[in-house]
């Protein structure tokens, strides 16, 4: 057995915080200990149940096969389809994403990411208004006022407050938490709210109205604001507006609480406008709390490859983007796709059940380290190495900062990138074969 080795400053490939101070002890080819990571990160790095072999469904049952057989079957499915969907990409490296986009171009697929059931509305909001943002270190070093709106980092991004926001100390924020005002706006008193200086409870689905009222108050037009908006008293809103205007450096972090609620992208559009306007009075930035560790990265790769960050339809031979038409959920709901590849995501669990039902009617190829409900409906299942633990690559933090994921241990599984190359080569081979036969 090999000696224990210590990997310092590894990058955690779980959530959008992409913590890069993780120490990992490896012995005998296995991770033995993980230091500095949160519960979510350690659970992932320590490892747990895996899909053991590639499988192809035969007479209703998934049967083990070779990787090449799985690649060939996957390629065949993609080639037979008129408009395949290639969905997921949030929990793998940018390198895998690049190969996936190439494959999508090759077979004329719709390429979509988990952003569409997450911060997709934020992307559309940004298309409307732009994003006044900053790197997380800027918040750590400067912010004296932080608003968490419809997000709950205490449970979704456990080290966010310590490393980057509420409790972080920096050059102009030596007192850390003590020197800051923390405000939480949510429909329920979350763990994050319990640690705030001020919790503002709003009625579900009323974010747009509350933001609009704040914009009025910030602009000095409070006379037009009614006594209560979205379950919040005008006095509380006026207080909040005054606090925001008085900030030396303010930051708004927002989550699915506003992207998933009534108004969706319009909520984000409004929040972006509020932050832009606050810059007339103080310095303010805003940032979506991205969930999966590389959901931001695949958006970046897709944007520089195709011009658009999600929901790109390559069926026409050129990129086409129209969320609501080309997003995964819409395609499935319309029955407008006849095969799907689900990679580094669990579409069957995370889509509305009525949408997921459409996946049960078409051949599905799954590429994932772990068994999940998507496996239950898949025709081809290809297990992969875990990016960031068993494979190197690039990921982008929630603030858009690119970091290099380390490989901590060896794995018998191919990386997502290698699998996609295998399928791509099989597609090209089968196409050539067919062309030769026809000739």
């Amino acid at each position: 057995m090999s000696e224990a080795t210590l990997i310092k400053d590894a990058v955690c490939s779980f959530c959008g915080c992409l913590c890069d101070d993780i120490d990992v002890e490896v012995e005998g080819g296995k991770v033995q200990r993980v230091k500095h990571a949160c519960r979510l990160g350690s659970s992932k790095i320590m490892g747990h149940g895996r899909i053991e072999s590639p499988m192809i469904r035969k007479e209703g049952v998934l049967v083990a096969c070779s990787f090449q057989e799985a690649y060939d079957r996957a390629a065949q499915i993609l080639l037979m389809a008129n408009k395949p969907l290639m969905y997921g990409w949030a929990s793998t490296s940018c390198e895998a994403g690049k190969k996936g986009i190439l494959l999508a171009e090759e077979v004329g697929a719709v390429f979509d990411t988990t952003a569409t059931v997450c911060h997709g509305p934020s992307v559309i909001g940004i298309e409307e208004k732009g994003l006044p943002g900053a790197t997380l270190g800027q918040v750590k070093n400067r912010a004296d006022t932080i608003v968490f709106w419809g997000c709950n980092p205490a449970e979704a991004h456990p080290r966010h407050s310590l490393r980057y926001s509420s409790n972080a100390c920096g050059r102009f924020t030596p007192q850390g938490r003590k020197g800051r005002k923390i405000i939480v706006v949510d429909v329920r008193e979350t763990r994050t709210a319990k640690n705030a200086d001020k919790f503002i409870s709003i009625t579900p689905g009323c974010d747009y109205e509350v933001i609009s009222a704040l914009r009025m108050l910030v602009a000095g037009k409070g006379d037009n604001v009614p006594e209560e908006v979205g379950g919040v008293s005008k006095a509380d809103l006026a207080d909040l507006a005054a606090t925001l205007k008085a900030a030396k450096f303010g930051a708004v972090f927002f989550g699915l609480g506003i992207t998933h609620s009534r108004g969706r992208y319009k909520n984000i559009d409004n929040a972006l406008s509020l932050v832009a306007e606050l810059n007339q009075h103080s310095k303010f930035v805003i940032m979506p709390m991205r969930g999966h560790y590389n959901v931001g990265g695949i958006g970046q790769v897709l944007a520089w490859s195709s011009g658009y960050p999600m929901s790109v339809d390559f069926a026409r031979g050129m990129p086409y983007f129209n969320p609501g038409e080309t997003a995964a959920c819409d395609l499935l709901a319309r029955g407008d796709t006849d095969a799907a590849m689900v990679i580094a995501a669990d579409a069957v669990s995370n889509f509305p059940r009525t949408t997921a039902q459409a996946l049960a009617k078409i051949p599905v190829i799954q590429i994932d380290p772990y068994e999940n409900p998507t496996t239950l409906l898949s025709e081809v299942v290809i297990p992969c190495a875990i990016a960031g633990v068993e494979a190197e690559g690039t990921a982008y933090r929630m603030d858009g900062l690119a970091l290099r994921l380390r490989k901590m241990v060896d794995s018998g599984f191919p990386s997502d990138e290698e699998i996609l190359i295998g399928i791509l080569e099989s597609v090209q081979k089968q196409r050539l074969l067919k062309a030769n036969e026809e000739a």
Binding site: D9, E105, E128, P132, A134, M318
Partner: protein, 568 residues
């Protein structure tokens, strides 16, 4: 490869329109070669174009793409057996960047501004841009470590940091944008002039610029400092420009080149006290350049229509967004920089835009020595680079300029001197401004000329320079420049009559400068402290890894390196 019978413009080697055969062997210009013959008889032949300042890769460009799906929809082209799909006009996807430069006969382009912290992203995009060679300039102007070294007057530590930063970013040169302003913007402020103190750091922009210029020369870097002035884009800012240039007159260059390259000069040649009495001060700036030899510039020409402004001058972008009520992206980078992106449309009938258009042309026509001024649009700030043929034809044709002027706001002739300028540039001027000068200014020895050993980058345009009158036939010239007959990159025909035939990956240049170990050691103590206390990532994860430069070309510099021999 043999390129036969072209009318060759190779000003770096004293060749100004001579009929001759060119030879490319193993990717380089040679005395003799065999193989493929390119028939260029009577046609205009130049080295491959070199763009020394263009925003082609990295977070700002991608932010532009993400916030502008309207732009991505323009210029869409399908995938072919050779090409990936193209999208975008002002912010094209990576593939279109490479194809469009190649179609115009360009083989090299340098990304203008990359913060060290986000250099990994820049290199991810650069690696994805096909065909052209590239490099990225690294931002130092609002960097805490830089400002502290300048404040402490510790020049050798500053030089050590610049070398370390270039290595960490795999960067090519020292870019300075609105020095000190990026830090002030961290709390929503700005610096108002070169002698303003940067809040919290007890240094002035003037000190930062001088410090970095000296460090640049201590390191014998191939390129000089590359400067975006304070107060850029504001009426009356020509005085800041002159004041800043005067700061650098006494510094001795370590190589045969300028001490400072001023970028997109057009945006800093403004007179007036407000937009109301806004006017051109291009003649004053041009005079300064005509009478001094320590500075070069690029035009930053503005053209009417759609643009996407993107710069590390974040307060400027906030101003743009307030002025136009357009969407606004901002991105501050901890300890290093700030930046912004705002879409923009320039209008013929808007006086300010029309004057800006004229200023760029005045600069290029009034500066006598074409080696001092490069043709750029600060793409995509003034206009996307695909419009270079428009700029070139404006410079070559007085009738074209007059025809354009007739469509503009009537005040333009009063606010600028353009109407009275008769000069029309010739092919030698153009070959210098788009090839020879950018290569020399950047310090790229093997680019921008066709001497033996140079990169085998050659462009053949479907124009007969001995027959065509660029002044009258400007439409014909523009068409020919937009799609070269042949673009040859490293001895391979990559584009023919606008059709991409091959997509070799381009190389990425970066500068590896050596410094005395004692200075590096002193620096590391500072950096370890900064990463422990202030950065949001670990020092060990900071530098760009080799994996991100699959086709790297490192250029050595630093103290032990002998100065380069004189070029031409």
């Amino acid at each position: 490869m043999i390129i036969k019978g072209g009318i060759v413009y190779d000003p770096a080697n004293g060749i100004y329109g001579e009929e001759m055969d060119l030879f490319v062997d193993q990717g380089r210009m040679a005395e003799q070669a065999k193989g493929e013959e390119i028939d260029a008889r009577g046609l205009l032949v130049m080295p491959g174009g070199v763009d020394a300042h263009s925003h082609i890769a990295g977070k700002k460009v991608n932010t532009g793409r993400i916030m502008r799906p309207d732009d991505s929809r323009q210029g869409t082209q399908s995938r072919t057996s050779v090409c990936r799909p193209s999208t975008g006009y002002t912010v094209p996807n990576c593939y279109a960047m490479g194809y469009r430069y190649a179609r115009m006969g360009y083989t090299t382009a340098f990304e203008a501004a990359t913060p060290i912290l986000e250099a990994r992203h820049t290199h991810e995009e650069l690696a994805e841009i096909p065909i052209i060679d590239k490099g990225a300039l690294t931002l130092f102007g609002s960097n805490w470590q830089v400002m502290e070294c300048v404040r402490d007057k510790d020049l050798s530590k500053l030089a050590a940091y610049v070398a370390w930063g270039l290595r960490a970013a795999r960067g090519y040169g020292v870019k300075i944008v609105n020095p000190g302003g990026g830090e002030a913007w961290g709390f929503g402020g700005n610096v108002k002039g070169i002698n303003d103190t940067v809040p919290g750091f007890d240094v002035t922009p003037a000190e930062i610029i001088r410090g970095l210029a000296k460090a640049n020369e201590m390191l014998h870097l191939p390129h000089s400092i590359h400067l975006h002035f304070n107060n850029l884009g504001k009426p009356g800012n020509y005085t800041t420009a002159i004041e800043t240039l005067d700061l650098l007159r006494d510094i001795k260059p370590s190589r045969m080149r300028q001490i400072v390259h001023v970028t997109h000069m057009q945006f800093s040649a403004y007179g007036g006290t407000s937009w109301r009495d806004f006017e051109s001060k291009a003649p004053v700036i041009a005079d300064y350049f005509n009478n001094h030899n320590h500075a070069t510039m690029d035009m930053g020409q503005l053209l009417f229509g759609s643009a996407t402004t993107m710069t590390a001058d974040a307060p400027l972008e906030y101003g743009n967004a307030r002025l136009t009520h357009n969407k606004w992206s901002n991105h501050d980078i901890e300890l290093e920089e700030s930046s912004g992106v705002v879409p923009m449309t320039y209008f013929r009938k808007m006086l300010v835009n029309a004057v800006q258009w004229a200023i760029g042309l005045e600069l290029a026509l009034l500066v006598k020595d074409p080696w001092k001024i490069l043709m750029t649009t600060d793409s995509p700030n003034g206009s996307p680079f695909v419009n270079y043929p428009e700029v070139i034809t404006l410079l070559m044709s007085k009738p074209k300029r007059d025809a354009e002027m007739a469509t503009l706001h009537e005040q333009v002739p009063k606010r600028t001197t353009l109407a009275g300028i008769e000069r029309e540039l010739d092919w030698t001027d153009i070959a210098i401004m788009t090839r020879a000068a950018p290569a020399r200014i950047l310090g790229l020895q093997d680019k921008g000329h066709l001497g033996t050993g140079a990169d085998g980058d050659v462009t053949v345009y479907n124009l007969r320079p001995e027959e065509v009158d660029a002044s009258q036939d400007h439409a014909l010239v523009k068409k020919a420049l937009a799609n070269a007959l042949y673009t040859i990159k490293g001895g391979v025909v990559v584009s023919k009559e606008g059709q991409i035939l091959a997509t070799p990956p381009g190389r990425t240049f970066w500068v590896d400068a050596a410094v005395p170990p004692a200075d590096a050691d002193r620096l590391m103590l500072d950096l370890e402290d900064k990463f422990a206390k202030y950065y949001s990532i670990q020092l060990s994860n900071y530098a760009v890894q080799d994996a991100y430069l699959p086709h790297a070309k490192a250029i050595r510099a630093g103290l032990p390196v002998e100065p380069l021999p004189e070029v031409a």
